[in-house]
Symmetry: C3
């Protein structure tokens, strides 16, 4: 808990409002309550600002007149937000072996594991050697966590889940604010990773925690090896994703999708239910209709590719030229 005077000092902001209001956490403008801080980066989000229930909002001077609550006025809102998140990140408790407060009595825990403060592990769940589970993680029943897995603080794993070796759950999202000198300032990601029931996660796959809300892997999802799931991604029920695919931040996948291997999916997209994307494709737009999608350059002998490449990068000019020629000929 910090009061507004402290928060204003942390980010060198001008406080407009009640210095004694106390803030316990950070939330989006839409969901924030009166003991929470939020931020509004620009006019585009003005409607979120005017209806916010937050205790305080970080904003620019030009949005101040529309602010219904206390304000922390700064020049660079996103940078100030990035800086202030670090004050709300919980420190991990140092622990040797299994912390005394952890509830692991009905689980099978192998040697050299680290199990943090407040961890709860269900019945008939196995934890492999050298796996590290940080504070306040919960793991359900009949779940099998292999060796050398890392699950970071406050994430939640369901029942009948299999987590393969080398998996990392709850790593920081790749969100950074850039200052006027071009330097990056990391956002401390305050959301968690929530993994449903009957999920399997392949070896060395990484799942980042959300920025403010959670990253969600719904029931029945299958993730293969070496997959990257970024912050705030939601993967719908019974969707299967093959190896080496990467999904960027805040993208939402529907139910029963089948995503091939080495697919790249851009951030902030919506992929509807029952979509199949063939391996090797890059998904750079929303997909609103179930079906099979592909975006792969056909494989060919290298010399042929070199010839085609020459024309390909001039395709727009070629098509326009031919259309003009044809028109002239007709005339």
């Amino acid at each position: 808990m910090y009061n507004l005077q402290e928060l204003a000092q942390f980010i060198d902001a001008k406080l407009i409002g009640d210095a004694d209001v106390r803030i316990g956490s950070v939330a989006s403008a839409i969901s924030a309550k009166n003991n929470q801080l939020t931020y509004v980066v620009n006019q585009k989000y003005k409607s979120d600002l005017v209806s916010t229930q937050a205790g305080v909002v970080i904003l620019n001077h030009d949005l101040l007149k529309d602010c219904p609550t206390n304000a922390l006025v700064v020049d660079d809102v996103y940078l100030a937000f990035a800086q202030i998140t670090h004050y709300f990140k919980k420190e991990v408790t140092p622990v040797n072996g299994i912390h005394s407060s952890a509830k692991t009595g009905q689980a099978n825990i192998a040697q050299n594991c680290t199990i943090g403060k407040g961890v709860i592990i269900g019945r008939n769940t196995s934890i492999g050697s050298n796996t590290v589970i940080e504070d306040n993680v919960t793991v359900g029943d009949n779940t099998y966590i292999h060796p050398n897995v890392t699950i970071l603080q406050s994430c939640s794993i369901g029942n009948n889940v299999v987590i393969s070796p080398g998996v990392v759950i709850g790593s920081e999202g790749f969100g950074n604010a850039r200052d006027k000198d071009g330097c990056w300032h990391a956002i401390a990601h305050l959301g968690n990773v929530i993994i449903g029931n009957n999920v399997t996660i392949g070896a060395n796959t990484t799942i980042d925690r959300g920025t403010l809300e959670d990253t969600e892997i719904h029931n029945g999802v299958r993730l293969d090896n070496l997959i990257q799931i970024a912050h705030n991604v939601i993967v719908g029920e019974n969707t299967a994703i093959a190896a080496s695919t990467a999904i960027a931040g805040s993208t939402v996948l529907g139910k029963r999708c089948m995503i091939g291997g080495m697919v790249g999916i851009i951030g902030h997209l919506n992929i509807c239910d029952d979509v199949i994307v063939n391996g090797g494709s890059v998904v750079d737009k929303h997909i609103k209709k179930p079906g099979i999608y592909t975006g792969i350059m056909p494989l060919m002998p290298h010399k042929q590719w070199q010839n085609i490449g020459l024309w390909l990068v001039k395709l727009d000019k070629i098509v326009k030229y031919l259309n003009i020629k044809l028109k002239n000929l007709k005339d």
Copy 2:
């Protein structure tokens, strides 16, 4: 060992044959012996069925008349197969440190390693800190296994092999059967990973075990970092694969191939000897002729790409239109 009555109960099948026949393992229809179970998913594999030596076959009612042995009749063969594999998967023995049955006397084992039951490690082999080696793994002579590696049960590593940190060998393959509600049921992968001599494996690379047969990495192979090798892949002698490449299930690579970085290779393909695939390509067909292959969209300034993209997705229409126009003009 289960008798056929037990197996029929596990998967809710109708047993046609001798309930007392005992089954010890699972194999393909072609290789199964009379103490093994197999499955035939549809008419396409009828010739395998009629000549099988298996003790029992899971199949549909319509294949029953062609079955030369005991049968377990179900509606969804692949799903029943997925379910029954779990009864043949061996449990890993819990162990603190080095199991008393492991033969590691001539190896150098660092601290905090877990070495399972029945493991054999050769002369002058080093195992790095925090590495986990499960039951019945064998490792040859003069092999160097770095820290934080995980080698799962019953895999086999040759002589003069280097395994980099974070590698996972023997993870479950990404094979799942879908039931009529769209839920996935994992196949327990009963094959192993067999790694030959003089192989090097880069950091955080993952190699899945085979479904029934083994995944094979032959002598002299070089694997870079963050590579995914799926179940039942075979990589031929002295083939080198650069970083972040992924090879899908059951694909066979020949000898002396050179596969570039971030190449995706679809499953069930055959790539012949002496093939070079340039980095970033997707291989979606068999390659039957040695040579250099490429499938990359040429890099260009983003605005140019946007212009070209507009025509590219209409290329088939453009070509047809121009051909008709040209024909009309000539007439």
Copy 3:
């Protein structure tokens, strides 16, 4: 330290010069001093040879006349170089827990870590559980290293760095020499990885050590998850790279670049400052001008892609055919 007679024996070379000269390490022809060995593979590098200060050079017979110093004459220079690097690689000291020579008094080290001989860790730096840090690594102040990280010998990490779980720093580069039987011989990589200040590194990312010089990650760089940075890559200040991207050996990235997710960058390229590469692209040429670059095959319904693919692989023939037709029509 080896004298030239010993070195000649190691690689079965003909020594031309003083057998008693002693060599302590290996360097490039340009930077080598008189107690160092170097190699020159062919005539292309003759100018480096004639001006080298090295104590000895591995070379072919036909370059001998241009050699200003002692020479080790072999048939296959690159293979001999690969073999000899192994004699200069330092062995890692076996250690239980924290080696007595390590300076870690002002750091917070969690359980089951391995901290090697001569390691220096700065003030207020945290090392997570089961992390392995090999001999002679230095880590700065206020750095946070998560659990299950591996940092191999002699690498250097700056201040205010965050290293996520599963990261591997200092793994061997993917450099191999091929002998006349097609067998690969690994080069022992003798360079290190140097990571500046204020760098963040995402989960399961791998950074290889350099061959002779170092791999460098400059101040303020942001690396997301599952990234591959190959040997001798240099990433310039404040450059940010998104997940699952791979950069091949010896490529140099400028400052303030933004590289999207799942980008592949070929080796030995120069990318200038302030370049943005969109996710999913393959960079196969130098980029000399700041700007936004893309090379993605547009995503489309699979049937459309099949139609377009048919024409795409004939694009060169189509364009030539149409140009001839148009010319004929005009005549």
